[in-house]
Every structure is written in C-alpha cells, then in structure tokens.
C-alpha cells in the first residue's frame, strides 16, 4: 500500500491544496531516483496536502488514488512526477477531470526522461527530482482553470509529392470520398518508381503495376492533380490549413491538350537536343515533350529554356500549326497561384539518389562506362533510351558487369546510414543484366541485407543463377591495365574478405548502387510545413514505433522515403497509414485545441503594433478606434510568438503566463 504523508509545516500558500504523486515507473524511475525521499520532500513543501509515491501512477489504481485524494482531501492542484507530459499529460488531465477538477490544474514533472534516464548518481538524481517537484508545486499554485476549444475540420487533404507514396495516399483518401489535392513538382506523377524496369523480388514490371494507379489518379473525380506545381506557403493549423500553390506555366492549356503529341513531331527541331531529365540525360528530348509515354497527365510541356520561340520570337511555330483548332499551346501563359483550404496534409516528397561524383575513386563522370544504378534502370527499361537494350555508350554489349553496393551508404565519409533497398535492387539488376546480356556479373558487397518477404529467397535464386559475389568494399575503379587482358576495360579492385586477398576484376561496365538521401530542399520544406528533421535530414516522425507517420505538427503526416530509406512495399504501407491517420482526424469532424491562447490586457497595450506582423495565423489586428491590438481567439493557436515579441509585456498566454513561468524558474533555482 502506498503511504500517505501529511505536511508538518501546515503552510498553505494562496489557498492551493496540492497533491503530489511520484511515480516509480517500475524501476525506470525508482532505480535511479529515491522516489520515497522525493515524496517525503514534497510533503513538506508549502501548499502540499498529500504526497505519495506509487509503482505505476498511470495504471488504473494509480489514477484512482489521485481521484480518491481529490475528494477526500479537497485537493485543487495536482503535481504528477513521472514521465514526459508528451506521454501521459492527457492521461492525468482526464484523471483529474473525472474527479471534478479542471484538467489544467495539473502540472507534470518529467523525472524519467529528464532525470532517471540521464543520470547515474542516485543521490544527485534525487536532489534534481526534488528541485523539479518544488518548481512544479510553486507553478501549479498559480494555474488557472482553462477550457479546451473545438473547431471543425476541413475534410480536404493536401498530398505533396506524386511518387508511389503520394499516389497511393491520394487514391486511398479519394476512394474514401475525401477531396484530395495532389501537388507534384515535375510535369508528371510517377516519381522514381516510374523510372524502374522491374521491381524486386517478384520481378513484376514497375510500369505495369504503377501506371494503372497513375491513370486512376488522373481520372479520379475526387483528386485535383496539379503537376509542375509547388507548395509555396502554408498557414493555419490542424483541420484548417491555408495553402498557396504555385503552378508553373507549361505553356500548354491542360484542358485543351489531348496528349496526341503531334506538336512534338511537328517541332522545328527534327531531333531532340536537350538531355532528357526522365532518362537521366541518356537520351535527348525536344523543347516540347511528354516526359515519358505513360506520363500523367498526358499533357506535353514546353521548356522555355530551349524553345526557339522563347529565345528569338522568330520560330515558325510548326507546333501551333500541328495543334490546329485545339489551340492548346499558349506561349504567353504565366505562373499562377492557387489558394486552397485543407484540413490535413500528407508529405510524400521522396528522396534523391546519392551523387557518386562525391566518391571520385569509383570514376563516375570520368569513365563513360561507370553508371549509377538508376541509369541502368533506364537502360534496361523497355521504354528507356535504348528500348531495353543494355549497351555501353559505344553501343556494344558488356561482357562483364560489376555492381558495387553501398555507394554513399554505410560510409563514414558520406552517409552513415544503410539505404535499405540497394542490396535488393542490386540483386534485381544482376539478374536482369545476366538475363538480357548473358554477361558475367560481379556483386561487390559489404553485407548482404535481404530481410523482407521473399527477399532472402530471391538472393538464394541469384546464387543459383551463377552471379558472382565478392564480399569486400571496392577500393577503386581504374582503367589502368596491369595485364594485357585488362586493356581497354575497367578494373575493379577490392579486397575479397572471404578469400582474404585483393582481387582485380576487369569488367566492361560498372554499376554504382547509389544510396538514398534526403531531398536537397528538405530543410526548406520542413520549415514550410513546420515539422522536424532528423540530423541526417529525413523528416522526423512523432514516434518511431507508435506514431511512425505522424509529425510533431498536428494534421501533418509523412510517408515514403522522405521519412527515411525504404522500398516500395514499405512506402505503400506507410502511405496507406498516413491516409488512415488523416481520415481518423477528418472523420472525427472536430479537433480539440489546447486553450493556450494569447490575450492582450487592453489597458496595458500601447498600440505599438509590434505583434501584428509576428502572428503566423493573422490572429492579431489593430483596432483603430481604441488604437490597441486585439487577438482573435478563434484564430490564435498559442504559439507564443507575440507574447515573446510584445515589448511592454502586455500580451500573456494562458498556461504560460510570465508569473507561472517565473514562479517555476524561481522554484527550481531556490535553495532546498
């Protein structure tokens, strides 16, 4: 049974009757903090009526203890010293709410994450816990009862990024009857998956499984698809985001273009002259082009950088002629801005591949026959620049191909993380190369990582197919021939750590299995959507296990490789999860907002207007008749910016009033 201690000093500051509850959290806290001593210490603090310690405060009996004390001892303030408020503040607020106390008359002290988990010295940890409890007791005495607010949720959803993650999330939501805005930066959706030939481990054709979903997005009445567009501004809050989307001019009226591509054929350029982005520069495209045959939307785009009409205004405009009555081409089109309102946002902005120029010893960019894995995906793709023929730059078929794993992954010099997909796609490429060319294929790996359904079996299959595996990190790729048989070829030098000697393997083609990296503008995107990034630059989930697609900003979810390297099955699973999380919010119809709003004391305000431009929610306006600022409480989200910015201290924030914060600081600094 927990012990009750009553105070000896009998002091009762400001009429507060505080109950203090110190949680053992099993041994999580009690192992490092003398919880009994903390509870005894708290019992002596002014205003404390009851102080207890208990094995698990969050358990039903733990909560019942608090409720019983509230009734028996007429407590009006509660301090729970346990874990992070992120975890259990809602729990204990509910607890005291049910006991008839306003839920905001609670203060939590985090003696787990802030004390027991970060300290070893039990005595010092206990002293620190005492300090924090003392601060909380002093603060909670000043707490005021507050009421939560309910606001309706806008049922529209914004999905940012049109790769497989964004496509799947958008379709799931649209199928559930939600209005979805899908915004994609490129002229077509499809993302990286659209560039692949086959997918591991089943070897089904990427296009065959992806393009039906792309088409479904393009034709779904519930989805507004904006390609060649970018989100430029996000304002508002969960349930009520206001988003500005920039639509870049494609110089084609999307509603008039049929995708017939007659303009492409008719272009004054007989041959393409510009490196084709979709084929990673392995082919050329014209100024007017369709990114790839199955692009969605099936609308061409004009590149003003290379189009003669934009350069000289003197083009014969054979494209316009070919378009004829359809009149889809419009050289005067301007960038437009669209304002939309959505309740939830799913970020599916994907990844970029590692640029192997950063590893100069592999010769990428110096030796023409060193390719990235993504380039090889295009080369063996039937819709690719060589119509699926795997040939070198001189048109010859390679007789031997070396695939180097972990380029830009698991490398202290570049990226430390494992990109998770490279082993499997390297095996897939090894299989495809062997199948298409009959070449000898060598895989150079550090460790073969094939967890996943059917993945290890696929590796076994490759072992049986006669693909060579060398365990060792490749030291260099060189064209320096040590032997006449190496002349004119690329030599891969690596220590074979299983055979324990250094190998030189001459090949005709080197494939660098490049890892995954955060998008170069991930930081800017993160700031715009007000979410966090891990130190590597991946978007940070709210909890790695329990809230893997949520972020610290309510109503903003993440899915796919923007959160970290992952393969297509995981990406699709996450996209579905993000869609479900968004729907859970939407179908609740209301969102409860914390009452942490700011308020202005009207007599005190000097009308200096400093706060007005600071409010990210445009909640503050200047009342001309009174010459004072006023806050619209409905719009205020309690970010506190104006509170910090008000130079005369005339704006205060509920639950974070200066008095409360200073009382807490002074409490923590006071001599015990």
């Amino acid at each position: 049974m927990p012990e009750t201690r009553t105070p000896t000093n009998g002091s009762n500051a400001g009429g507060a009757r505080v109950g203090v509850y110190v949680c053992h959290c099993g041994t999580n806290i009690a192992g490092t903090v003398d919880v009994r001593a903390v509870s005894e210490y708290a019992a002596e603090l002014p205003g404390v009526v009851v102080s207890r310690d208990y094995k698990y405060m969050c358990s039903d009996p733990g909560q019942a203890l608090i409720q019983q004390d509230v009734r028996e001892h007429s407590l009006n303030r509660i301090v729970v010293a346990s874990c992070s408020p992120l975890l259990h503040e809602p729990t204990f607020r509910r607890t005291i709410d049910r006991a008839g106390l306003n839920p905001f008359l609670l203060q939590m002290v985090n003696i787990r994450e802030h004390v027991s988990w970060v300290h070893l010295d039990k005595q010092a940890a206990t002293a620190k816990a005492n300090d924090l409890v003392r601060a909380a007791v002093r603060r909670v005495s000043l707490h005021k009862p507050l009421q939560k607010r309910r606001v309706p949720i806008n049922t529209n959803v914004l999905v940012v990024g049109g790769g497989i993650a964004g496509i799947h999330a958008a379709l799931t939501l649209a199928e559930a009857g939600k209005r979805v805005y899908l915004v994609e930066r490129e002229p077509t959706i499809g993302g990286h998956m659209a560039m692949f030939d086959k997918t591991f481990p089943t070897l089904d054709c990427a296009a065959c499984i992806l393009t039906p979903k792309m088409t479904a997005v393009g034709s779904h009445p519930g989805i507004t698809l904006w390609t060649y567009s970018e989100v430029v501004k996000v304002a508002g809050y969960v349930g009520n985001y206001r988003v500005k989307v920039k639509r870049k001019p494609r110089y084609i009226h999307e509603d008039l273009c049929l995708g017939c591509q007659e303009c492409v054929t008719a272009c004054v350029y007989k041959e393409g002259k510009t490196p084709d982005e979709f084929n990673l520069g392995l082919s050329k495209r014209k100024p007017v082009y369709l990114p790839f045959p199955q692009a969605v939307p099936q609308k061409v785009v004009i590149d003003p950088e290379t189009c003669i009409e934009f350069k000289s205004k003197k083009c014969k405009k054979t494209c316009v002629e070919a378009c004829g009555d359809r009149q889809a081409i419009d050289f005067t089109q301007k960038e437009t801005l669209e304002d939309i309102e959505v309740g939830t946002i799913i970020l599916a902005t994907g990844f970029k591949t590692f640029d192997p120029v950063r590893n100069p010893y592999y010769g990428y960019g110096r030796y023409p026959n060193v390719y990235t894995s993504l380039e090889v995906e295009r080369l063996i793709n039937a819709a690719g620049p060589t119509a699926g023929e795997l040939v070198l730059r001189d048109g010859k078929r390679p007789k031997a191909v070396g695939i180097i794993h972990c380029v830009g992954s698991r490398d202290a010099n570049t990226n430390r993380w494992c990109s998770k997909v490279c082993c499997m796609y390297s095996l897939k490429l090894a299989h495809l190369v062997k199948e298409r060319t009959g070449a000898e294929v060598y895989n150079f790996y550090i460790d073969m990582r094939t967890p996943g359904k059917g993945y290890e079996e696929f590796y076994d299959r490759l072992l049986d197919e006669g693909v060579h595996f060398v365990r060792g990190r490749v030291a260099e790729v060189t064209d320096w021939a040590a032997h006449p048989s190496e002349k004119g070829r690329l030599v891969i030098r690596a220590e074979d750590t299983l055979a324990a000697f250094v190998r030189r393997i001459p090949v005709d083609m080197v494939v660098l299995s490049v890892g995954m990296e955060p998008q170069p503008d991930a930081q800017a995107v993160r700031r715009m959507f007000n979410i966090s990034c891990s130190s590597e630059g991946w978007f940070l989930e709210r909890h790695p296990k329990l809230a893997p697609v949520s972020t610290f900003t309510e109503g903003v979810f993440i899915s796919g490789a923007c959160q970290g390297p992952k393969d297509i099955p995981d990406t699709v699973a996450q996209a579905g999860a993000a869609a479900a999380e968004a729907m859970a919010l939407i179908d609740a119809q209301f969102v409860e907002l914390e009452p942490y709003t700011a308020f202005i004391s009207e007599d005190a305000c000097s009308g200096c207007r400093s706060c007005i431009p600071l409010c990210p929610y445009q909640a503050i306006s200047f009342a001309e008749e009174k010459k004072k600022a006023t806050i619209n409480e409905v719009l205020c989200k309690g970010c506190g910016t104006c509170v910090a910015g008000c130079p005369s201290g005339s704006i205060q924030q509920n639950f974070f009033e200066d008095e409360e914060i200073f009382e807490e600081i002074e409490g923590v600094l006071a001599y015990a």
């Binding site: 007599d603 005190a604 000097s606 200096c608 007005i612 910090a644 130079p647 005369s648």
Partner: protein
Amino acid sequence: MLATKPRIAFYWCSSCGGCDETVVDLAEGLLDVIAAVEIVFWPVALDFKRKDVEAMPDGSITATFLNGAVRTTEQEEMARLLRSKSELLVAFGSCSHLGGIPGLANLFDRESILRTVYLESPSTVNPESVLPVTSHHDDGHTVVLPGFHNTVRTLDQIVDVDYYVPGCPPPPRILRTALQTLLGGDLPAKGTVFAPDCALCDECPRKDTKPETLSIAEFKRTQDLIIDEQTCLLAQGLVCMGPATRSGCEAACIRGNMPCTGCCGPTSRVRDQGAKILSCLASLVESKEDAEIDRVLNTIPDPVGTFYRYGLPGSFLRRKRSNEVQASM
C-alpha cells in the same frame, strides 16, 4: 504648525545632478513644495551634514527622494542611514531606479576602471602610478575616501524601497504627481512606479504613422539619415525604445526628433527591458536567413549601451562576468 509639516529629504549617490535639477525645474511649483514641506536634508542646495541626519530619530523623515546609483561604500552607508531615518524611501530617477548610465560601468570591473582612469587615459599624468586608497596617513593626520565597489547597484539592491520615480532625469510632471500623491496621504501600493504603466507609443505624437507590418532590413543611427519629423522613428530604421518604455514623459525626446532611449524603464509586467525590446526588434527583422539576420543585428554597434542604457544593474544581466572582462582587456 511647523512641526506638522511633512519632513522631506533629497540625497544624491552616483549621479550627474540632473535629478536635483528636476526639483529646481518645478519652477514656481518649487515654492509650493517648500511651503508645504520642511526640507531637512538636501546636500546640493542646503547646508546639512551627515551628522545632522544621524542625529535624527529613526523614521522621522516623512519621505526621502534618493537619486543616483550605489557605487561607493559611502553611498551605501547613506542609503542605509536614510532608509532607517525615513518612513518612505523613494528611488528618484533612472540611476537609483534601475542603475542608470553609471550602471554601464558594470561592463567593467573595479580594477580596470581604476587603471583606465588613473593610469591609462591619454589625459592622465600620474608618473608615480598613484591609485586612490581608502585611507591615507600624513603628518599625524588621516584622510579617508569612500571605497569603490566592484559593481554598481540600484537602490533596491541595497535597501527596501517604497516607490520609484523614473526618468533620466524624471520629468517635473512626474515628480509633481509623486509629491502630490505622497503628501496627499492616500498612498499607492508599495513598489509603485510613478508613471503610467503603458508604453510610450501610447502617448507618442507619431503613433499613427507606425506601419502595421514593420519589418526591419537595417538599423540606422541618428547621424545616418535626415530624420523625418512626422514619421515613427522605428519605421525610419532607428532604434526607438518607446515600445518597451514607460510613458509619462509626453514623448519629450521624440518631440525633439530623437528616438526614445528608454530612461523611464520597463512597464510593471516586464522584468528585463533590454531583453524585451531585443526580443521584439529581432522578431521584426525582415530576413529569415541566419547570416542575413546576423548582418542586420550587427548594424547595432553597442547592443548593451542601446538596450540597457539605463537599466543594466537592475536587469537580469546585472553585470558582465568579471573574468570575461579581464580576459578581454
């Protein structure tokens, strides 16, 4: 009749004399004051000595108006003496209220100040490197000087203070109000500052010209531009402390086309005036890029002297850490 008149004292510590000037600036009002009260101590104007004060019974002075910060041992002794002799002690002017201009000496320590003043300043001729001492014996006589504290303090960091009259110097209007209130007998709450608890913008003649969305691309100094006489000075890029400073002066400096420098101190709701205006102005910097924000903030050459001009000792900062002062000398 005479015996029932309130007994008033004025004293100065580390100050420039401007606060005493404020008393004189009451002009003909001064005569009313003199008629209404008995001035028992006022070193700048009347020939009373410390021993006269020591001879008074405790609590026999109705109110002492003490100006100046506390820097020397003598000032500290006088503050304690006057506290015990007075029913009410009023910190009079920025220096005793918040530390004032002398408080900026807290950016240095005693040794470096004495070294600069007595040894290193270009106009000093001191071939024997004589430094002040607290007592000197010569020919059977002893001469004493007050000791020099390492830190300048506000009056309420030494003794209990009842009321504050802000300003550098306090506007006569505020002094008049304070005197009337104190003599009227209906005393306000202890700790009251005798000035409106609203920032200066409230009474600024240029209030209407301040834009709603001020964003700062660069801070200017008064010599950098021809200052427009109608427009909000912040809008012209000048650092005006008005938004973070108590009103009551009727925007005297701004009427003289100069920005507010913050002498009346913060409102009752703010504990650190400099931090508050910094927080405000830094939030209004136009750029959101770190390097550009640094550049804009670097256009303020002397942040402490700008934002804590009158209030360093009374602020959270109080003083520069001594070891850092030495390291930088």
